[in-house]
Symmetry: C2
DNA sequence: TTAATAAAAGACAAAATTGTCCTTAATTAA
DNA sequence: TTAATTAAGGACAATTTTGTCTTTTATTAA
């Protein structure tokens, strides 16, 4: 469904949201320790997200990544689009470039419904909602406890 | 969502279903011409599907690929599982190996719903239903007209 | 039996994705 | 101002996916 990069991105952002605000940051090492993701690869992904203002970063002593209150209100869809693009939300299920209502692929209508539901789900799920549940211990980000 | 291999697989199988039966076959060249897929790559995929009895194949003069009436009644889910495996139907949205009801990832429930709907959709969509619509001109398999 | 045909199979090659390592730039505490 | 710290950035490597080409095997029509 999503690329590895996108999976790491969502996990990293939710973790950052759960641990930071305008006054408190976390470093890449701590992030990756808590989401079990490759450090340098994840750092690259967070660079992208930082450039797109989905996360904030600060270099130097006491630097790190953080999300402010505005960023925490954003939806998961923003993260996915920043990392994987929008094909998962709008693309044809069979990879046809010109799939449309007038020239539909064989599964056009069925697939459109799934895609639209996925889109709505990702739009209506906010980063902070997930961060709060994580803090309550109602969800996990690591493969192994 | 699906790999390129899986997209080609579905397109190829629907085309084969629309053109063949126990008495009539199509060759790999004709298949690929009609679904705009790379010939040798698609041939490999069809070998896999043939080994898994999702399509039939016959070597030699007047050989080719075909689907019998039993195979045409199968669902798309079989094709996807044969090519991409079952992760798209059962895997965690964030790539956690140990995501479960008791240790859910942050989007576990929302994602499970999407996954289940996708599964049902692919289970309830049969190859012959798509082949029939294709024959009626109600859907297309090519990128360009 | 032979020649033609068509899928199977294997060897590669290209491209994309994933992952690692090292250097650079920015920041701050001392 | 200096040293320590931390993200940014670039180069590169490994792996996976996608795609191509050639040879082999099976089948059948002549």
């Amino acid at each position: 469904m999503f690329s590895k990069a996108c999976e790491y991105a969502i996990r990293a952002v939710v973790y950052i949201a759960s641990e930071t605000d305008e006054t408190k940051k976390v470093g890449i090492q701590e992030i990756c320790d808590h989401i079990e993701a490759p450090q340098h690869f994840t750092a690259k992904i967070l660079q992208t997200l930082s450039r797109k203002h989905i996360v904030n970063s600060q270099k130097g002593v006491n630097g790190g990544f953080f999300l402010d209150s505005v960023q925490k209100k954003k939806s998961l869809k923003n993260i996915v689009e920043a990392v994987d693009g929008d094909q998962v939300f709008v693309g044809c299920g069979l990879g046809l470039k010109q799939c449309s209502e007038t020239k539909p692929c064989p599964i056009h209508n069925q697939f459109k419904d799934i895609r639209n539901r996925l889109t709505k789900m990702m739009e209506s799920t906010t980063i902070d909602a997930l961060a709060i549940r994580l803090l309550k211990g109602e969800s996990v980000l690591m493969q192994t406890k």
